[in-house]
């Protein structure tokens, strides 16, 4: 249990995928203008990460590893994720139209989100079992959501300020991201100190 908690907190705070490991920067900068959009995107990412891990872990363990096809990992994973996202979208549209309306527009964006592919590959390289893989994916997704929502808040203030002309737009956004990232930097070491 302690190990699971340690993995969860480590992936939410210490190794935050967006602010520390630089995965999923495009949606982080693109969809963080409003807090409600940021929340929607974050929840959709958590959902896809969990589904993707639940699908790729058995594929890697029972198919690729058993038949010595480990070198196909990259191709298989990206195709599985792409197909899965499409499938989830179709299912949601048919059976849960309300949920599809709130999450649906975010789903196509997530196929090429490097955070999702990154988390599935990292779970394999870290040698996690099924349970720890799922917990680590949940943590990464939560970390993404946290970063998105925090940054959306910061950004709504930044939008009102007028920076020097060359800095307006993307540059000032990146510099505010740097400061938010600095805040997360303060969490380094917290997990080893709490969980030993």
């Amino acid at each position: 249990m302690t190990k699971l908690l340690a993995i969860l907190f480590a992936s939410v705070l210490v190794n935050n995928y967006t602010l520390v490991k630089f995965l999923g920067i495009c949606p982080f900068l693109g969809v963080s203008k409003k807090v409600d959009q940021a929340t929607g995107m974050g929840i959709a990412v958590i959902f896809v990460m969990l589904v993707a891990t639940a699908a790729t872990w058995p594929i890697q363990t029972f198919l690729l590893d058993r038949f010595n096809l480990g070198y196909l990992q990259t191709i298989v994973f990206i195709l599985v994720i792409a197909a899965l996202v499409q499938f989830v979208e179709i299912v949601l549209k048919k059976y849960l139209p309300a949920l599809h309306k709130s999450l649906g527009i975010y789903l196509p964006l997530i196929t090429t989100n490097c955070a999702v592919l990154g988390v599935t590959i990292n779970n394999m390289t870290d040698g996690y079992n099924f349970l720890t893989s799922m917990v680590s994916s949940l943590g990464c997704g939560l970390g993404f959501l946290l970063a998105m929502v925090l940054f959306a808040g910061v950004r709504s203030r930044v939008e009102e300020a007028i920076p020097p002309k060359p800095f307006s737009g993307i540059p000032i956004t990146l510099i505010s991201a740097s400061i938010v990232s600095l805040a997360f930097y303060g969490f380094a070491g917290i997990v080893t100190n709490i969980f030993g």
């Binding site: 602010l19 520390v20 490991k21 630089f22 995965l23 999923g24 920067i25 495009c26 900068l29 693109g30 969809v31 203008k33 959009q37 070198y71 196909l72 990992q73 990259t74 191709i75 990206i78 195709l79 792409a82 309306k101 527009i105 975010y106 196509p108 964006l109 196929t111 090429t112 989100n113 490097c114 592919l117 990154g118 590959i121 990292n122 390289t125 002309k165 060359p166 800095f167 737009g169 993307i170 540059p171 000032i172 956004t173 990146l174 510099i175 991201a177 740097s178 400061i179 990232s181 600095l182 997360f184 930097y185």
Partner: protein, 233 residues
């Protein structure tokens, strides 16, 4: 367009990183040292040229509806080749780049060029475009890496620089420094070109296959359409 222009536009005018703002993730993640930036840049360039050639050659064969999955398969194939070659001949670099090597698959630059250029141009032009964009990416990565490694770690490509070694700013090689240097570089490019470089006000990734869906979220006009469509449903 003249052949030299196809290559040169990727270097400055349409630099994929500083002007088109594509491929931000690998730019930030692998620019901590000159060596890893060089390796990442070369690996991505190789994949970009090969995938541009193949996609351009197959542009009349691939059905329009399933083109994105087809591109992803082609790109993933070349990424796997690069991964295997690197693992065999340059194992230390392979370790250094880690997961980011596999993530070349989802690099917006490569999919963006496939969608935005290779599928509508001849093989030769597509190859040159891949070369130009790849070198543009490599140069941008090197710029970032030189600034971050020299000032942040007091070394260049692993060799210590005497005075700077004792007076470095370590935060620059950490993640906050990545965002900071990247922001300043984009501002610098924008200032040097007097704002003529087509830096987008919003983060709309031109040529990114997700741009359509992205636009729905970011531009208000489309958001209204979305609402109307929802009402019509």
């Amino acid at each position: 367009m003249k052949k030299s222009n196809i290559v040169l536009k990727g270097l400055l005018k349409e630099n994929p990183v500083f002007v088109l703002l594509l491929g931000t993730c690998p730019t930030l993640a692998t620019s901590t040292s000159v060596i890893s930036a060089l390796a990442m840049g070369l690996a991505a360039t190789a994949v970009l040229i090969c995938s541009n050639i193949v996609i351009s050659a197959l542009r009349n064969v691939i059905p329009d509806k399933v083109r994105i999955p087809c591109y992803i398969v082609v790109i993933a194939g070349f990424v796997t080749i690069v991964q295997l070659l690197m693992q065999a001949y340059l194992p230390s670099l392979y370790e250094m780049l880690g997961v980011y090597l596999a993530l070349i698959v989802v690099n917006c630059i490569i999919l963006g060029r496939a969608e935005g250029y290779a599928n509508s141009h001849k093989v030769g032009e597509a190859a040159l475009d891949g070369l130009g964009m790849g070198i543009g990416f490599l140069l941008a990565l090197l710029c970032m890496a030189i600034i971050r490694e020299v000032l942040g770690n007091g070394s260049f490509a692993g060799m210590a620089i005497p005075f700077l070694k004792d007076h470095c700013i370590p935060i620059l090689v950490q993640s906050p420094g990545g965002f900071l240097v990247f922001g300043i570089m984009i501002a610098l490019v924008s200032a040097l070109t007097n704002g003529k470089a087509p830096i987008k006000k919003s983060f709309d990734c031109e040529g990114c296959p997700s741009a359509k869906a992205c636009g729905k979220l970011t531009c208000s006009g489309c958001a209204n359409e979305e609402k109307e469509a929802a009402v019509n449903d």
